[in-house]
């Protein structure tokens, strides 16, 4: 397997192979936790940390682990990093740790992480693997935060409320009320997350479509083919 360039790895993780919008992996935390920006950002950072750590570790031991034992080994590595993330959150952002609850330990089961370990990090050297972990984590996190923002804005009418739970007292005043008295319960509940994710996927496909069409338009015009009846071949 050839090693792709770092730019290509980044583009894949952030956009063209985005774990949330294209691979549709890690949907469980994505849908359950993205009810506000602070929840989404907290889980995004934890996932990013685990993904980066596990990709680096898996890449480092890739020559030592035999094929039959690799999956249990990867899961142990991921579980270790998840425990680290969990303890860190319990130590520094206890309130958020209480809110996210079971979804922090459940990062272990996030298929996006095991998927990157198996599909990329176990076959690639350290630097591309680390880049891949970082960029995939950022891609997942970006979708998570975007979804959290959408659901908080149109579900509760606010944005960036309770950011101090994650970013410390300095962020206490960040919360803004955009639509007072808005209480659109559907978006706050999990079905709304499904719906909003579907819309984001549609939006991504729309953008891809536009880009592709623009690329096609920029290609130099093919020379016109003149077709004539009863002639084999074409005259250019």
């Amino acid at each position: 397997m050839t090693t792709p360039s770092l730019g290509e790895v980044s583009r894949h993780g952030l956009w063209s192979n985005n774990p949330a919008l294209v691979q549709l992996l890690g949907l469980c935390p994505l849908l359950a936790v993205s009810s506000s920006v602070v929840n989404a950002l907290g889980l995004a950072l934890a996932t990013l940390l685990v993904l980066l750590g596990s990709n680096v570790a898996v890449s480092l031991i890739r020559h030592q682990v035999s094929g039959t034992l690799r999956l249990p080994a990867f899961v142990m590595i991921i579980a270790a990093f998840v425990t680290c993330a969990e303890l860190l959150m319990a130590a520094y952002t206890f309130e958020l740790y209480r809110i996210l609850g079971i979804f922090i330990p459940l990062i272990v089961t996030n298929c996006a992480i095991l998927g990157r370990a198996e599909a990329f990090a176990s076959r690639q050297p350290l630097l591309p693997s680390a880049t891949d972990g970082l960029m995939t984590g950022l891609g997942f996190g970006a979708v998570l935060v975007l979804l959290g923002g959408l659901r908080e804005l149109f579900g509760q009418g606010t944005l960036f409320v309770d950011m101090d739970l994650l970013l410390g007292p300095a962020a206490a005043g960040w919360g803004i009320t955009v639509f007072p008295d808005l209480d659109f319960l559907f978006l706050v509940l999990p079905p709304g997350a499904f719906f909003a994710t579907g819309l984001l996927i549609a939006l991504k496909n729309l953008i891809d479509d536009r880009l592709e069409r623009r690329r096609q338009a920029r290609l130099p015009d093919r020379p016109r083919e003149t077709r004539r009846v009863r002639v084999t071949g074409t005259i250019r």
Binding site: D183, F184, L185, F186, L187, L189, P191, F195
Partner: protein, 355 residues
Amino acid sequence: MSLMHTDQTAPRRPASTTAVMGWLLVATLPGIAALTWHFGWGVLTNLGFAAAAAIGLEATMLRLRHRPVAATLGDNSALVTAVLLGAALPPGSAWWLILIGMVAAIVVAKHLYGGLGHNLFNPAMVGYALLLVSFPGPMSLWPSPDGLLSPEARPLGEALHQLAGLTSLETRDALSGATPLDAFKHKPEALMASEFWADSPLPDGALAAWQQVALAWLAGGALLVYKRVIGWQIPVAMLGTLTLVATLLYAGNPSHQGSPLFHLLGGAAIFGAFFIATDPVSAATSRRGKLIYGAGIGALVMVIRPAGAYPDAVAFAVLLMNFAAPFIDYYSEPRVYGHPTATRGIRVDVDKEAR
């Protein structure tokens, strides 16, 4: 020469969608008239705004999907969705509530699934269920049934004021009364049903008003069955099962359960049976399938009403059975004449294996 007269035996031409939807609209008139008579102008403002929103949204979606706009709008299906949702919402709803419901119905439930004929779920009920889950407050504000001509009746101007969303929730709350099902749902546990009714928990004439509205829907539904716009199977199976389950529950615990008649006429059961559950797209299609489908809705209504969190359950029961409709169709396909019974699915044909 009698052989020449083949007109009598020629198969009927299938009715066009426009004609079917037209008859549906006609059949809603008695129900709408009864609703307006008892609950005031708010019913008509609901319907008017819902219809306008439906046509606007339908036209927009058709244009976005590069479909013929005028020809498809002419089939009246968007209008039927609007009338059904508008009649199901509390009279005098605010414009934003109706608009969100219509967006969910027309844009999401209908066009995102591929347009008329491809929707898995009944569009009007998707809109209604979304609103019920999202806005429990405004969705429970049924005005008290004062009647259109009584001195307490509020004028058309006030209904328009409510439609514009200018009437505060508190004011509307003061003017509203609980629906019979809602009141019965929140009956104190210790209170017996007879004591509850003796207490006159509803505004004057509310129960009678709801029963008359249900009977008006029944008249419209009978017209639909008579004109063969809908089959008799779904309404009969649904109402029959509902009555049966309600009777069993009532016989088991008459002091705390509602009577079968109360369940039949006190809520949206009749309206749902004739106008919602019979949606030709999302319902089961074979005759046997329609019986199973209708019975499932009736049973689910009587499970959700006593045991669920919502007082009326027709929308959720219909949506749940929409899920099951393809499955029901698969196992209830009629035998083709001249062919043996179909063997498929989990049934194992022993004879064939022995051979």
